[in-house]
């Protein structure tokens, strides 16, 4: 799936949260967005999914060259976009299994057979080193932060999206779990050729996912794009140096 974000400007109430935001993600590529807190990284993920909290006032989001701005959140999901949440909700009284079955069936004309569904789910639970009994437990209820992240990846593998947005996948995961989750994401990418947008603060996840591009976001837009070496630069210098250089560029532009 190709994703193109063109000159996007987004507001929440009267506050501008993204402005002049551009990003091109091609099929089978991994892009990473890094930046300090509160610059609109997670906002971008919710805007792509069509959250009604945000208003797109300018620009466009294209999927395979077609605008998705008029699609509802569920239509975008059924198109093949998957958002892994930073803090997934828990739903008491509804099991992971029945939720996923409902989510699969809303993508199909005929309901999935029980045998195929359970077989698929058991494989995915096993891949994430999760006891299969967890599929009978309420969605995310009493799950630790790490278990919630693993459960998101189980959902992803079961729903088979073409574009993954991974919002701080690394938070809450210990080093072994992070490695396991990343292996699963990469394996899925290899099979499906999906495109990935990863949002993170830290570079430790990048050594497992090996991104094609890294974008630094400050001041509501992308200020610098580079390869993995950019992440190392951030580790050494922090974000402040990029913030001040972006500010300088902006001032020069106004002056011209």
């Amino acid at each position: 799936m190709d994703i193109e974000i063109k000159d996007l400007e987004v507001k929440i109430k009267d506050k501008t949260v993204l402005k002049g935001f551009n990003l091109n993600i091609k099929k089978d590529e991994i892009h990473v967005i890094m930046g300090p807190n509160g610059v609109g990284k997670s906002t971008l993920s919710k805007v792509i999914m069509g959250s009604s909290d945000y208003k797109v006032v300018k620009g466009d989001i294209l999927v395979n060259k077609k605008s998705i701005l008029n699609l509802t959140t569920d239509e975008r999901a059924r198109l093949g976009i998957f958002l892994q949440f930073q803090n997934p909700i828990d739903v008491e009284g509804v099991t992971n299994q029945e939720f996923l079955k409902m989510a699969i069936n809303c993508r199909r004309e005929t309901p999935i057979g029980l045998y195929d569904f359970i077989k698929e789910l058991e494989t995915n639970y096993k891949d994430l080193n999760f006891p299969k009994e967890m599929m009978h437990r309420s969605i995310n209820q009493n799950f630790s932060g790490g278990e919630k992240k693993k459960n998101e990846i189980i959902q992803m593998k079961t729903l088979k999206p073409e574009f993954l947005i991974l919002d701080e996948l690394d938070s809450g995961l210990d080093i072994d779990s992070l490695k396991l989750v990343c292996e699963n994401v990469l394996e899925y990418k290899k099979e499906s050729k999906c495109s990935i947008l990863l949002i993170t603060h830290y570079s430790r996840i990048l050594k497992y996912l090996k991104p094609d591009f890294i974008h630094i976001v400050t001041g509501c837009k992308v200020v610098k794009t580079g390869d993995y070496t950019l992440a190392q630069e951030i580790e050494e210098k922090g974000y402040k140096v990029f913030e001040s250089s972006a500010k300088k560029q902006e001032e020069e532009k106004i002056y011209e």
């Binding site: 999901a77 997934p88 909700i89 008491e92 009284g93 409902m102 309420s138 729903l159």
Partner: protein
């Protein structure tokens, strides 16, 4: 397990003695009823399109799970023995004007009660009045009441939670919420491909069943009723 069926009985007074785990179905009835509970039991009850004025008394631990549709219930529970527990979960879905009033009387010492009331109001009015009563003579009572009503469409709802406590040596708390489902919860489910209807259906199911301590079979009974009367 004992099973009691009450259907199409209007303006009658009944007294039932319950001494084992029991499933009770009350449908299209208008009753004044008294439950005398003799042992430690679990009661699962479905009340459909009915009106009930009930008094329930027990000297034992009691677990009561009630599911109702379009019903009005006036209930008085008398806990009459020390060192007993009451686990009471009430879930209801309504599109008519319905009232639910409950008094929980702690008539002895060292009684623990946990009262959970969950309602979904589809339209018209749904009113909850929950009175936790601890008289002056009762000591060391632990009691909590948690009430929520979710509004879907054009419903109007009120909750009046009261802790009527006449003693110092008591641990009592209450919470009440009337409103819609959180938009973040709906958004999460939609990001998995569920449309508004399916997302609401899942959250209603979760909200009504989540607070109840029931078996798989009892859960399926509720789901069948929900399918028939709602979606």
């Amino acid at each position: 397990m004992n099973k009691i069926n009450v259907e199409d009985i209007k303006d009658e007074e009944k007294e039932i003695i319950i001494s084992e785990d029991t499933i009770i179905f009350i449908k299209n009835s208008n009753l004044k009823i008294k439950y005398d509970i003799k042992n430690e039991v679990n009661i699962f009850e479905c009340i459909i399109e009915s009106s009930l004025d009930r008094e329930l008394q027990t000297e034992n631990n009691l677990k009561l799970n009630i599911f109702s549709v379009n019903s009005s219930i006036k209930e008085k529970i008398n806990m009459k023995k020390s060192y007993t527990n009451l686990n009471y979960a009430y879930s209801t879905i309504n599109n008519k004007n319905n009232k639910y009033e409950i008094d929980i009387n702690h008539l002895e010492n060292n009684i623990t009660s946990k009262i959970t009331n969950h309602g979904v109001c589809l339209k018209n009015n749904l009113n909850f009045t929950i009175n936790t009563i601890v008289p002056n003579e009762s000591f060391r009572i632990k009691t909590s009441q948690d009430s929520k009503i979710i509004l879907l469409n054009d419903g109007v709802a009120t909750i009046k939670p009261s802790l009527l406590v006449a003693n110092d040596d008591i641990e009592a708390n209450h919470s009440a919420y009337v409103g819609e489902f959180k938009s973040d919860d709906i958004f999460y489910l939609k990001t998995r491909g569920l449309n508004q209807n399916d997302a609401e259906k899942l959250l209603v199911k979760s909200f009504l069943l989540g607070s109840m301590d029931i078996s798989f079979k009892e859960r399926n009974i509720i789901l069948e009723i929900l399918k028939k009367y709602w979606r």
